[in-house]
């Protein structure tokens, strides 16, 4: 076991999978010679050739579609979006092609492609660069949507995503790249983490916090603070949004009787709304309070730091929601 960064974990996952399977290749802007806009693909060009680490010009629709075509005929592309904000340029390829070709072809062609990149707000990068769009992709049948919160999850899940025979939208946390976690090294096995399985990041009996990606960390901070007041939070990380591990989430809410969903995206039709539906559907009798939800404000992200902090969910917002659910205002 070693403590490595989330960035390093992704790098290792890609490196190991590329060594294992010659059909895996990486394509995106600045992935090769620049060593990755966020250094996630650092060193891969030196290890593999330009044939397998392909620098693309600014043409997301083009290279996302090239990935789909290559996947159809047997390669396993990893298409990097510099950020998922730019995936909107290519969304036709993801939603109309990658997600649907398996069905449109009556099962003849499957698309073993991974679309990966950072998602969600960074720091002060303005409204066009700060979006959390997971609900757009989680909405679409035919796609899998994975959002790891820790380096451990990132490595195991990226490997699973690369080996999956379906299109996987793999959304990393822009502000998570430097976080570290203990990760088993490859010598002790493949350490794949299955897609579609949630993880309990913290056990607690009083209330369930459901969050993914960066918000897991914020919830853990909130839980620490609440523990000092004797409130024990259980933090459940779905890790995969589609397919959602409703079983594990519901088991937790049925145990604690209270639920706060925390997401960094916008509220209206955000993925947390789907989670809330599932929880009320399966846990109605166990609920002591309505399901709470903490999201970013329903506004495009402003630039100024103080405004950005006001818009995004903070520990105090989660603490307040927890106390509301416990009738402890």
């Amino acid at each position: 076991m070693a403590v490595i960064s989330y960035r390093e974990a992704l790098n290792q996952a890609m490196r190991e999978e590329m060594e294992r399977d010659p059909n895996v290749f990486v394509m995106g802007e600045e992935v090769g010679h620049y060593n990755g806009a966020y250094k996630v693909t650092q060193g891969l060009l030196q290890r593999f050739s330009e044939r397998r680490i392909v620098d693309a010009p600014i043409a997301e629709m083009g290279f996302a579609g090239i990935g789909v075509g290559a996947a159809m005929v047997g390669l396993r592309p990893i298409i990097e979006f510099m950020t998922f904000n730019f995936s909107l340029v290519a969304i036709d390829q993801i939603v109309n092609n990658a997600a649907k070709i398996f069905q449109m072809s009556g099962g003849q062609y499957n698309i073993p492609i991974v679309f990966r990149g950072p998602s969600g707000p960074a720091v002060q990068v303005g409204s066009q660069h700060s979006q959390a769009l997971e609900s757009y992709y989680a909405h679409v049948p035919g796609l899998k949507v994975v959002m790891p919160s820790t380096a451990l999850d990132a490595k195991g899940l990226l490997k699973s995503a690369i080996r999956d025979d379906n299109p996987v939208v793999f959304m990393e946390g822009e502000t998570l790249y430097n976080t570290t976690w203990e990760v088993p090294d490859s010598a002790s096995g493949d350490d794949l983490i299955p897609i579609g399985v949630a993880d309990i990041k913290r056990v607690g009996k009083d209330i369930t916090l459901i969050a993914w990606s960066k918000m897991v960390w914020t919830c853990l901070d909130a839980a620490k603070q609440l523990a000092e007041e004797g409130i024990e939070c259980e933090v459940v990380d779905p890790r995969t949004l589609r397919p959602l591990d409703v079983e594990t989430l519901a088991a937790s809410v049925n145990k604690t009787g209270r639920c706060v969903i925390v997401e960094i995206g916008w509220p209206v039709a955000g993925f947390g709304a789907e989670v809330a539906y599932q929880m009320q559907r399966h846990c109605m009798d166990a609920l002591d309070a309505p399901i709470e939800r903490v999201t970013s404000d329903d506004v495009p992200m402003p630039y100024a730091k103080n405004l950005e902090d006001e818009v995004q969910p903070q520990v105090k917002d989660i603490v307040a929601a927890v106390k509301r659910a416990l009738y402890l205002e």
Binding site: G65, V68, G69, A70, L75, Q103, G106
Partner: protein
């Protein structure tokens, strides 16, 4: 009684200049009955297949959108005749002819249009989404230009693996303005991908004639911006199409470089079955019908030595094939499975 029709005279140039005289229709390419007969047979079968589909559609047996290739058969048949089995074809929603030419049989194509279980994609795709892995037919697509990067991707894979396969990508001139085409073209040129991008310019994007969509009507010129090889010719003679596309295919196979080819052609029917066709005159359509490449091919076949009896036998054979396919489609069971092919391994 009836409405006054707005008539738009089509031309290949701006309204106040003369019509461009393209390639001499009388130019004859050397061929033999052995080469030409199978090409004619394919064109005829496609023609009959499309007519049968139109009839079924008007009877309510085919639903949704139906886009017919009638009038343009020489292009898909000629071009695909230049390929090997391992080569890939990616096409649009007007792709029944391309699928047939690549080797997909009439039965599964028609059954698919009828929404039956025996359709080539089990009734899940319909007219716009014919796919057949056995013949490397990588699909019909509904989003204009969205399939061009996919074709570039198949070519990318061929180059990656060094397997020598070539990809043909068919699209209309209406696609030449959209981002997917532009990006696919740019990347194919930049990375030298073994793809032949074939623009079937039938001079109308739905109801919009060429001069109202493109500032410069020569689609093939776009290749110049990317240093890519290009070609442009009249698609009225199936053997000429085959020869010219074969050059581009050879280029892709030996040097790995792409080509942008524009083939001028004409569709006799509307954009789809719900197109009232008010944007061109009946006279114009009749003029092009008189030069039907199918008839031209038939005459040529007789001219190069096929005897009447053999030709009649060939045509009867086609008739029987399509009638059989219609019967098959009518009698096949309805599609019944739609959850099985959403996620592989589910």
């Amino acid at each position: 009684m009836g409405m006054v029709r707005a008539v738009v005279t089509a031309s290949m140039t701006t309204p106040d200049s003369k019509r461009v005289e393209h390639d001499d229709h009388q130019e004859l390419v050397e061929t033999t009955p052995e080469e030409l007969a199978p090409l004619y047979r394919q064109m005829l079968a496609i023609r009959r297949l499309e007519e049968a589909s139109a009839k079924a559609y008007s009877q309510g047996k085919i639903g949704g959108f139906l886009h017919l290739i009638i009038g343009q058969e020489a292009v898909c048949v000629g071009a695909i005749a230049a390929l090997e089995k391992k080569d890939y074809v990616v096409a649009t929603y007007r792709e029944h002819g391309h699928a047939y030419a690549k080797g997909v049989a009439a039965r599964p194509i028609l059954a698919e249009l009828y929404g039956k279980k025996t359709g080539c994609v089990k009734g899940l795709g319909g007219s716009m989404h014919i796919f057949d892995k056995a013949t490397n037919f990588l699909g019909g697509y509904g989003i204009v230009g969205g399939h061009v990067p996919i074709a570039a991707g198949a070519a990318f894979a061929s180059k990656y693996r060094g397997d020598g396969a070539v990809t043909l990508c068919f699209f209309g001139e209406g696609a030449s303005t959209i981002g997917g085409f532009a990006e696919g073209l740019a990347l194919a040129a930049l990375w030298k991908l073994p793809v032949v991008l074939i623009c079937e310019n039938n001079q109308y994007s739905m109801g919009t004639p060429l001069y109202r969509s493109l500032a410069v009507e020569d689609v093939s010129l776009r290749a110049l911006a990317h240093g890519m090889a290009r070609d442009r010719f009249d698609g009225d003679d199936v053997v000429k199409v085959k020869r010219r596309i074969a050059e581009a295919v050879e280029r892709a196979r030996t040097t790995g470089e792409p080509t942008l080819v524009e083939v001028i052609t004409y569709r006799f029917r509307g954009h789809s079955m719900s197109d009232p066709g008010l944007y061109r005159t009946k006279d114009e359509v009749e003029e092009w019908k008189r030069r039907d490449p199918l008839n031209r091919c038939r005459q040529r076949l007789l001219d190069v030595g096929m005897i009447d009896a053999d030709l009649a036998a060939l045509e009867d054979d086609v008739k029987a094939e399509i009638e059989d396919a219609v019967k098959f489609a009518e009698e096949s069971p309805a599609a019944d499975e739609y959850k099985k092919y959403v996620v592989k391994g589910q």
